[in-house]
Each structure stands twice: as structure tokens, then as C-alpha cells.
């Protein structure tokens, strides 16, 4: 053998600081586990078992602490590149904490796939459920389920930045990867101040809604809107999550509670930066904003269309038809997923509109999922320009948003995102159909498409068996796994996860 042997193939060096990334994940797991104290209190009040919460509480803190220490780096070392993996892993880990109580409780979702599905559905504020029988679960478990949505709504990382002051060089990038919408908006010079303010607005609105719901419950005790339900529904309204401890969702309550919840769903589906400005005296902040106006316009138009369909096909009066239509459009477009009626039995036209609403979503910087109104506006603006330049090839037509010209890169980003979103949705729907077919599980094409759209858009309810009053419990476990993945990738808006699948991310 010659000494000048072939040089060993050069392995690409890993360019991602995995240890700092893990350290961040450990740190967040450690603190997030403390949230399990809340259901412990509920369990004490209702006399439920404490075991499902205390074990993950202890294990979570110890494991988080251990990972953070063993990683040997500080979470502050997370840079721009690590933000992608950091956010993706944090959300996977959070769902593990979320799943533990369901597994330990031994109910109908104690299998890992089911528990993890339910937990991912919680933190991603989806609201899709695999609980075959909600009434079989304890108050504490259902409270935890609602709480995971509230925590996930404004964002786990945003919470970590606000509470822990963890914002190294990658702080802005972390926020960027987690925040819904194309661009995270800083309200203050310091990232931590922004995170704190956003959470304060979120908490403030939540307190207002909970108090209002509780008062409604006190005035009409027959409704069943007690303090527990007021808090649980507040958690899932403000986060546009949609879990309800009631098997009949919002149908269980009167029109006053439904109206309140509808109004707050609209608020939660709008940009929280607008509410921050409103609270600070700029009362015209929301009405002046182009995206907000577009959002309201779409809500009104879709509600009217569904209302007309209901008026034509049901016995409901004008008020009933348009009221139900508006509630359901708001609920699905803001990606909350509450039901005031079993809309799965509505006419095909109404279902089609609701299906479309699932793709739209709320505004950037809200707690809602799906594509978001801003991206749709940008893509439409870009399309309209293409039509105009067909006639006037030399015309220079910047697309404007709130009177300001939008960068070309942002336009391309919006169109690319919509394309990726639809492709991911289509692949997900196809996989669900394929898996169910292999299992001999009968599922229509529309049902599969709704299942994919409702999970990638973090909406929640499906149609058919998985309708708003039912659950995805009967779906094969592989289909549940696909849907869990869709919830995760949908909540983080595709890019941070798709980036992880590229060689360029890890090695270059």
C-alpha cells in the first residue's frame, strides 16, 4: 500500500451549534414543566389524582436541568442559525411534557401516539382531539389541555424570552421563527420588552374575557358557565385553540357567551401589536391597518355566504342563520375551531366556504394559524401586478401595504409560502388517504382533505366522524402521526422545519 493513499473523504463539519441548541431546549423544558403546577391546583380542588402532573413536573425539571448542563453551552449562545433547530426542537419537547399527564392518567388517550397528538394539538392551538369521550376525563386533565393552548398561543419562546430574559444573538431569530406571519414586529428597542408587552396584552385580554364569561355564568346559572369553564374557554379562545371541556363545544352555552367568545376570537385573530397600540391610546390603530380591514372584510363576506346557504337550506330564521354562520366562519377562519352547532352536517356549499376559511387564518402577529391574511393580500397584489404588466410591460408597480411599498423579497416570500403550504397540505391529505385505505378505514377524499387542512392550519375540528362533536380517535395511528407532524410544521410556518431538511443548513 502506498503511503499516498487516497485521502479519507472529507466529512462536512457540522455548522450548527447543537449543544447550545439543546441547552436552550433544556432550559425551556425546565421552566415549562412548572406550568404543571396549575392543574395540580385544579386537581386538589376537584379531588382528582395528582400523580399524572407531579411525576412529569419533577421529571421535566430534572431532565431539563440535566440537558441544559450536559450540553455544556448556555442558551444565550444560540445564534441565528441555531434558532431554526432550537424552535423546532423546543416545540417537540414541549409536546412531550404536554403528553405525559394524558399517558399517566390512563384514560382513552394513554397510548403515546394519542397523548402526543393531543399535546401537540394543545401547544399548537389546533384543538383537534383524539379523546373519544371527553366526559371520561377529569377536570384537571381537561384544564391542562386548555392551558397548553393558552401557553402555546402567544408562543413558548416568546414566553421564555419575556420571563427568562434569554435573548442572545439569536433572540430576534428565535422570535422570528416562532411568531405567526412573515415578519416579527418589534414594539420596543429591547426584544425582552416586546415579549413582555405582547404577553401583558395577551394576559390582559384573557382576564377581561374570563371575567366577562364568569359574570355571564353568574347571571344565568343554568348555562353551566362556571368559573372553571370561563377560564378554560378563555384559554382556548385567546389562543384560537378551540379545546372545550364540554362535549358539545360552545353549543353548551347561551348566545351571550357565544357572542363574547366570537368577539374575542376576532380580537385574538388580529395582530396583537395593534391591540398594544390601541391600549396605548392609538384607538385608530386597528381600523387604519390594511391587513385588519382585509381580515374583517373576509370574515363579513364569508359569513354572509354561509348565512345565505343556511337560510336557504335550514329552518333557521335570518338572525339564527347569519348568527350561526358568523360564529362558525369566525371560529374556523381564526383557526379556533369552536362549534356553536354541528356544522359538519351543513350543506355542501357552506362546508366548502368553511373549508376555504381554514386556509386563510387570521393576521400576522396573532395567535391564529394557517396562511394569514397578510400573505394572501401580498400574493393577490403581486398577481394583480402581473396582470397589469401584461398590458404595460414597462410599468413599474410596487405593491403597497398600508401605503408603504413592500419589498420584492417579501412578495416572493408570501407567494412561495402559499405554494409550500398548499403542497404540504396536499401531501398530508394524500398520506392520510393512503394510510386509511391501507387500514381498510373508510374515509372520503373531502374528509381527508379537511383532516389535513384542519391540522396544518391549527384549526381543529374535521368533518364526518371527526366533526366538531366527534374526534379523530378512530383514525389509524399512522394517520395521527402525519397529522401531529402537520400541526407542528403548520404552527412554525413550514420554513424553520423545511430548513432542517436541507444539507445547506447543517453543513455549509
Amino acid at each position: 500500500m502506498s503511503a499516498a493513499a487516497v485521502a479519507p473523504p472529507r466529512h462536512g463539519r457540522l455548522r450548527v451549534d447543537l449543544r447550545a441548541t439543546l441547552s436552550l431546549v433544556g432550559l425551556i423544558v425546565k421552566w415549562l414543566s412548572l406550568a404543571l403546577l396549575a392543574p395540580v391546583v385544579v386537581a386538589l380542588i376537584y379531588g382528582d389524582s395528582l400523580r399524572p402532573f407531579l411525576i412529569p413536573l419533577v421529571v421535566g425539571i430534572v431532565a431539563g436541568f440535566a440537558v441544559e448542563r450536559l450540553a455544556g453551552r448556555r442558551a444565550n449562545d444560540v445564534g441565528v442559525r441555531e434558532a431554526f433547530a432550537g424552535v423546532a426542537l423546543t416545540w417537540l419537547a414541549a409536546a412531550l411534557i404536554g403528553a405525559a399527564p394524558y399517558m399517566l392518567d390512563g384514560g382513552d388517550i394513554s397510548a403515546f401516539v394519542d397523548a402526543y397528538f393531543e399535546a401537540m394539538s394543545g401547544f399548537t392551538t389546533t384543538g383537534a382531539s383524539v379523546m373519544a369521550d371527553i366526559t371520561s376525563h377529569s377536570e384537571a386533565i381537561l384544564f391542562w389541555r386548555s392551558l397548553t393552548q393558552w401557553l402555546g398561543g402567544m408562543g413558548i419562546i416568546v414566553l421564555a424570552i419575556a420571563v427568562l430574559n434569554q435573548s442572545g444573538p439569536g433572540g430576534k431569530a428565535l422570535l422570528q421563527q416562532e411568531a405567526p406571519g412573515p415578519e416579527a414586529e418589534k414594539l420596543t428597542p429591547r426584544l425582552r420588552d416586546t415579549a413582555i408587552r405582547l404577553w401583558l396584552v395577551y394576559v390582559g385580554l384573557s382576564v377581561a374575557l374570563a371575567a366577562a364569561l364568569w359574570i355571564v355564568g353568574l347571571m344565568d346559572p343554568d348555562q353551566g358557565m362556571n368559573l372553571y369553564n370561563a377560564i378554560a374557554h378563555t384559554f382556548t379562545t385567546m389562543s384560537t385553540g378551540g379545546f372545550s371541556p364540554e362535549p358539545g363545544s360552545m353549543e353548551a352555552f347561551g348566545w351571550v357567551a357565544q357572542l363574547l367568545v366570537a368577539v374575542f376570537m376576532v380580537i385574538a385573530g388580529a395582530n396583537f401589536a395593534l391591540w398594544y397600540r390601541t391600549v396605548h391610546g392609538d384607538l385608530r390603530a386597528a381600523p387604519r391597518d390594511g391587513e385588519f380591514r382585509g381580515y374583517i372584510a373576509i370574515l363579513v363576506v364569508l359569513s354572509a355566504l354561509v348565512g345565505i346557504a343556511l337560510l336557504a337550506t335550514t329552518e333557521a330564521g335570518v338572525l339564527g342563520a347569519f348568527g350561526q354562520a358568523a360564529f362558525q366562519v369566525i371560529s374556523l377562519m381564526t383557526t379556533t375551531g369552536f362549534a356553536s352547532q354541528d356544522f359538519a352536517v351543513w350543506t355542501a356549499f357552506a362546508l366548502l366556504i368553511l373549508f376555504a376559511a381554514m386556509f386563510i387564518g387570521g393576521c400576522a402577529g396573532s395567535t391564529s394559524g394557517a396562511i394569514k391574511v397578510i400573505r394572501i393580500r401580498l400574493a393577490l397584489g403581486s398577481a394583480r401586478r402581473d396582470v397589469e404588466t401584461a398590458v404595460h410591460p414597462e410599468a413599474v408597480l410596487p405593491v403597497r401595504q398600508n401605503g408603504r411599498p413592500v419589498r420584492e423579497a417579501a412578495l416572493q416570500g408570501a407567494t412561495a409560502f402559499i405554494g409550500l403550504y398548499l403542497v404540504t397540505f396536499a401531501v398530508g391529505a394524500a398520506l392520510i388517504l393512503l394510510i386509511t385505505a391501507l387500514h381498510g378505514f373508510e374515509l372520503g377524499a373531502f374528509d381527508a382533505m379537511v383532516a389535513a387542512a384542519t391540522t396544518i392550519g391549527n384549526v381543529g375540528p374535521g368533518v364526518g366522524e371527526a366533526g366538531p362533536m366527534g374526534s379523530f380517535a378512530a383514525y389509524p395511528w399512522e394517520a395521527k402521526a402525519v397529522m401531529t407532524f402537520l400541526m407542528w410544521i403548520g404552527r412554525l410556518e413550514l420554513i424553520p422545519i423545511l430548513v432542517l431538511a436541507t444539507r445547506a443548513y447543517w453543513l455549509r
Binding site: 404595460h392 414597462e394 408597480l397 411599498p405
Partner: protein, 431 residues
């Protein structure tokens, strides 16, 4: 810019020129009888060596706004005189208007040009218009055509039907400036200078305009530089439909982003295929303000050949102005001349309010407050109290009068006076 100002000022004033470019100073020093000092206007030492403390007026007119402002601030600290700053920024201009900048006058070349273009388009047929007395009186110059709506060629001034609120201030024939009497006869190609109320000048415009001239509604602007954008913004603000053409992608994009009301095209305006495709010939006016004068000329003529009625060119070289107008460009405007006019206005007696230059500064129109001790007070205009000058309008409190032979000036009046430039200083003393 400075050279034009020096050219306009050196004859009547003691001028000191401060410039970093020593060679440029040599040229100026050789051409004009002025003192030149080499140095940076932002430097306190240079300011002192130019003896700024003793000056009545300091003009900061370099091409860079920030240098001008810093120089002005230095001057403010050193001297009691008035300070005039040239800027190209609309923001600095509005800051000055809001009283946030401690200078007496701020002049924007772009703004002055835009105003000049707007005036030219607003009064089709007029060669030049200038406002006086807060817009209550105007100076307008028309050319007399035989094919005008009302043909006045060959008629005596006394025979003309002169609207009440107007005065014929001057007739300009070839190179002669006449202060007209009733027996003077109007000839084809004469330029008639009027001082009139806005309504009366519009009446004159309708009478003297060629029959085919109509209102301007659609404008094509070629060249999206700082001047072009300011013009576009001004015209858009007046409700005109403006299309901007610039061949540079970055500039075109900037125009489209800055001026939401205008349609912007990234194209070569000499491309006749493009001009036809976008129906440029249907526009009422074309305004050319590219960086290159020869392109401006070519595009103006191209547009006119396609059917555009009025061509305006913003010319870089003041010497080209008459040539452009001779070959068919309706208005040739030069930034330096326009700004120099503004600057010269402030070198006048502080009583001078409005000011305009005609015929390359051979004739000036100024608005002047009459001193109570002036000897012309009470003398009727029939007696021609002012040698080589004519009073076109009198601002008396809230009223603006357009005097006839029996009228006379009173103490406290302001008069809008047309005079030959070399008589202006004497006139200011007499009044």
C-alpha cells in the same frame, strides 16, 4: 449654482465667494469683480477668513444640503446679516417653514422648478408667470400670435379691450423693452407683459392663446431624478394625471414607491415603439428633465411629433434656454436661473416682498413697500412719476388695485413695479 448667483449679484453688490475648489475660484475671480476665498464653508476658520461677520447676507448654495445647513449654522453664530440656504430636500424645507431651522430663507431648486413648471402648465400660452401679493396679483408674459383667439396684431394699445383688473406693463419686441403708451402698435411676435388679478390673467390667456390650446390634464414626465420627482409630486397634488418614464430601474422603482399617484414606466423615452404603445402622444404635455440636455431636446421634439401639445424641458445649461425655445420646446427652464432669481430677490431692499426676472434679468418685476416720505406719493401716474418703470398694481390693505392714469400712490401702499434691471436700485431709493 453659485456661479449664476454671482453673475446675478456682482454688478450691484460687494460679493465674497467661498469655495473649496481653488481652480473654480480662479475662473470666477477672472470673470467677475468679486473677492474669492478658498476654504470649506463648514469650517469656522474659513468663514472668518471670508469675513462673514461683516456681511449683510450669507448664501449657502453648495450641492449638498447638509454642508449648506452646517455652513448656515456657522454663519448664524458669526454674523448678524440674513442667511439664505439652498436645499433639495422637501423635509428640510418644511422644517424651515415650521421655524425649526435658524435661517432666514430656504430655497429648494427642485421646488422652484416644480412651481415654474406648474405655472407654465396652469396658464397654457403664457411664457412666464409669477405670483405677487400672496397670489392676489400675477405677472404674466404672453407671446402675440396672429392665430390667437383674439387677434390683436396691428392694433394700438388704446384700442385694446383691457380687463379691469389688469395693466399692460411692457411690450418686449426682439431685444427692446418698451414701456407702452396708448399709441404703441402691437406687432406679431411681440411679448406682452401683464400685471393682473388671477381672473383677469386667465381672461387674457383665453384671448391670447392659440385656438387649439385647452386645459392640461395629462402629463408625461421623463426623468425621475430629484427634480422630476418634485415636479411629479406637485402636479399630482394638483390633480393632474402624471406618467413618469425613466430608463433606470432603481430610479423608476424609487419614483413608483415615492409617488403613489403617478404611473411609472421603466423604459427608454426615445424608443418610439414604447411611446406609441403607451399612447404618449395623447398626453397634453411632456416634461423632460433627464440629466442630459440633448436627450431632453430629442424627447421633447419626439413627443411633439407624436401629438403632445406642450413640451417643457428642464435644461442644465442656462445658455441653451433660448435655443430650446427657438426649435420648438415651449418652455425651457433652467434650475440655476430659477434659483438665482429666488436668491436675487432676497438681496433686494428688505421692503421688497415679491420679485421676478424677465428676459434673462434685463427686466425685473418687484413688489415694494412705499416709504411715507417718498416724493412720488400723490403724483398721478399720467405724469409718469417713475422713469423707466411702470406700476402694475397697488396693494392697499386688503385691496389690490390695478391703477389707471388718475390713480396715485399713497403712504403705506405696496406697489408691484416693472422696471429695467439697472434702474431697480435707483427706484428702491426713490420709493
Amino acid at each position: 449654482m453659485g456661479t449664476s448667483v454671482v453673475a446675478a449679484l456682482h454688478a450691484q453688490h460687494d460679493v465674497t465667494v467661498l469655495d473649496v475648489d481653488a481652480e473654480h475660484l480662479n475662473t470666477i475671480g477672472a470673470r467677475y469683480d468679486v473677492l474669492t476665498v478658498a476654504g470649506n464653508g463648514t469650517s469656522r476658520a474659513a468663514m472668518q477668513s471670508a469675513n462673514v461677520a461683516a456681511q449683510d447676507l450669507v448664501i449657502a448654495a453648495t450641492d449638498r444640503d447638509e454642508i449648506n445647513i452646517v455652513a448656515a449654522l456657522q454663519a448664524r453664530a458669526l454674523c448678524q446679516g440674513r442667511i439664505l440656504v439652498r436645499t433639495s430636500s422637501a423635509e428640510y424645507l418644511s422644517a424651515w417653514r415650521a421655524g425649526e431651522l435658524p435661517v432666514d430663507v430656504m430655497i429648494s431648486a427642485e421646488n422652484e422648478i416644480a412651481q415654474a413648471v406648474s405655472r407654465a402648465l396652469g396658464m397654457p400660452g403664457a411664457l412666464q408667470t409669477d405670483m405677487f401679493a400672496d397670489g392676489r396679483a400675477e405677472m404674466v408674459e404672453f407671446e402675440v400670435h396672429a392665430d390667437a383667439a383674439e387677434n390683436i396684431v396691428g392694433r394700438r394699445i388704446a384700442e385694446l379691450r383691457i380687463p379691469d383688473e389688469s395693466v399692460i406693463a411692457s411690450l418686449i419686441r426682439a431685444d427692446r423693452v418698451l414701456i407702452p403708451g396708448g399709441n404703441d402698435v402691437v406687432e406679431e411676435g411681440d411679448r406682452i407683459v401683464l400685471i393682473a388679478s388671477p381672473a383677469a390673467s386667465r381672461e387674457w390667456a383665453l384671448r391670447l392663446a392659440r385656438r387649439d390650446v385647452q386645459d392640461i390634464q395629462e402629463v408625461v414626465l421623463v426623468g425621475g431624478g430629484a427634480t422630476g420627482r418634485t415636479i411629479a409630486r406637485t402636479l399630482c397634488g394638483q390633480g393632474l394625471r402624471v406618467r413618469i418614464i425613466d430608463a433606470n430601474e432603481v430610479v423608476a422603482r424609487l419614483c413608483a414607491e415615492e409617488i403613489a399617484g403617478a404611473d411609472v414606466f421603466c423604459a427608454d423615452a426615445t424608443d418610439t415603439g414604447f411611446l406609441q404603445r403607451e399612447n404618449v402622444g395623447r398626453a397634453d404635455a411632456v416634461i423632460c428633465c433627464t440629466e442630459r440636455d440633448e436627450r431632453d431636446l430629442l424627447i421633447s421634439l419626439l413627443a411633439k411629433s407624436l401629438g403632445v401639445r406642450i413640451a417643457v424641458a428642464v435644461v442644465g445649461d442656462p445658455d441653451y434656454v433660448p435655443i430650446f425655445e427657438r426649435v420648438g420646446v415651449d418652455f425651457a427652464l433652467n434650475q440655476r436661473l430659477v434659483v438665482a432669481e429666488e436668491i436675487v430677490r432676497f438681496t433686494h431692499d428688505p421692503r421688497t416682498r415679491g420679485f421676478a426676472m424677465l428676459e434673462n434679468d434685463r427686466v425685473e418685476v418687484l413688489e415694494l413697500e412705499i416709504r411715507p416720505t417718498s416724493e412720488v406719493i400723490g403724483r398721478p401716474f399720467r405724469d409718469r412719476p417713475l422713469e423707466g418703470a411702470i406700476v402694475g398694481a397697488i396693494v392697499r390693505g386688503p385691496q389690490v388695485l390695478f391703477p389707471r392714469g388718475d390713480d396715485a400712490l399713497q403712504a403705506g401702499d405696496s406697489a408691484i413695479i416693472l422696471a429695467e434691471a439697472h434702474r431697480v436700485q435707483g427706484l428702491e431709493l426713490a420709493l
